[in-house]
């Protein structure tokens, strides 16, 4: 009847730590890194002025109307 918590912890604590660290690493390399790469790739070829003009022509801005009007 002694050391019941200690015995349980001895078994479960390494498993808990391993699972936590594995989950964190898995998330990092399946979600975080691809996302960072996607953003880097997108902005490498991004022309802000071109995108702005396309949005302006579509008529979504209130401060600048499309060039036709």
């Amino acid at each position: 009847m002694r050391g019941l918590l200690a015995k349980r912890l001895r078994f479960h604590l390494p498993i808990a730590f391993t699972l936590a660290i594995t989950t964190a690493l898995a998330f990092k390399y399946t979600v975080a890194e691809p996302r960072k790469k996607a953003y880097a790739d997108f902005y490498r070829q991004y022309d802000a002025v071109k995108e702005f003009n396309a949005m302006r022509e579509a008529g979504i801005f209130e401060s600048v109307r499309p060039s036709g009007e």
Partner: protein
């Protein structure tokens, strides 16, 4: 294990089941409902009271014998003493039951019933949906989202091909 459990209980039993002498008027009977309840729990292995409160004459003589040397007690007597103090053994109290099947069945039944209630509500309680759900309105909303370049990196507008004006393959 059996001996330590029984030994620790003698002191507590003496307190809880002893008669009370009040003010020289004699003894007050200890009612059952005034005593703490007995229950078998793994977390509290020694309940506040013994399981059997009213001892038969055999059990009383056994208790007298318990006051002597324990080496002379037979195994049946030791078991009888255990069963006086406790209802279930640890093995008996820890065993599982099939109750979970009823619980899961009840959960699914009530989920199904709730589904029926929701369907009835949709038909008879709710009014018509707002105009913002019309197909034309939704198409205009979608076009505006694409014009605004919502989520152009990984999400919504990233999947639209602006050159060919269609969804990317």
């Amino acid at each position: 294990m059996l001996a330590t459990r029984a030994l620790s209980l003698i002191g507590k039993r003496a307190i809880s089941t002893s008669v009370c002498v009040r003010g020289g008027h004699g003894v007050a009977k200890v009612e059952d409902y005034t005593l703490p309840p007995y229950f078998d729990r793994r977390e509290t292995p020694l309940p506040d009271v013994a399981y059997v409160q009213q001892l038969t004459s055999e059990q009383k003589s056994l208790k007298e014998k318990e006051k002597g040397s324990w080496a002379v007690l037979t195994n049946e007597e030791k078991l009888a003493l255990y069963r006086i103090s406790f209802k279930d053994s640890f093995a008996e109290m820890n065993q599982g039951s099939a109750e979970w099947k009823s619980v899961v069945g009840g959960i699914m039944f009530f989920l199904g019933f709730t589904g029926l209630v929701v369907l009835w509500q949709r038909k008879y309680v709710y009014g018509p949906t707002p105009h913002t759900f019309d197909t034309l309105y939704k198409e205009q909303e979608l076009q505006r989202m694409l014009d605004m370049r919502i989520n152009p990196v990984e999400g919504f507008s990233a999947k639209w091909d602006y050159e060919n004006k269609q969804w990317k393959k």
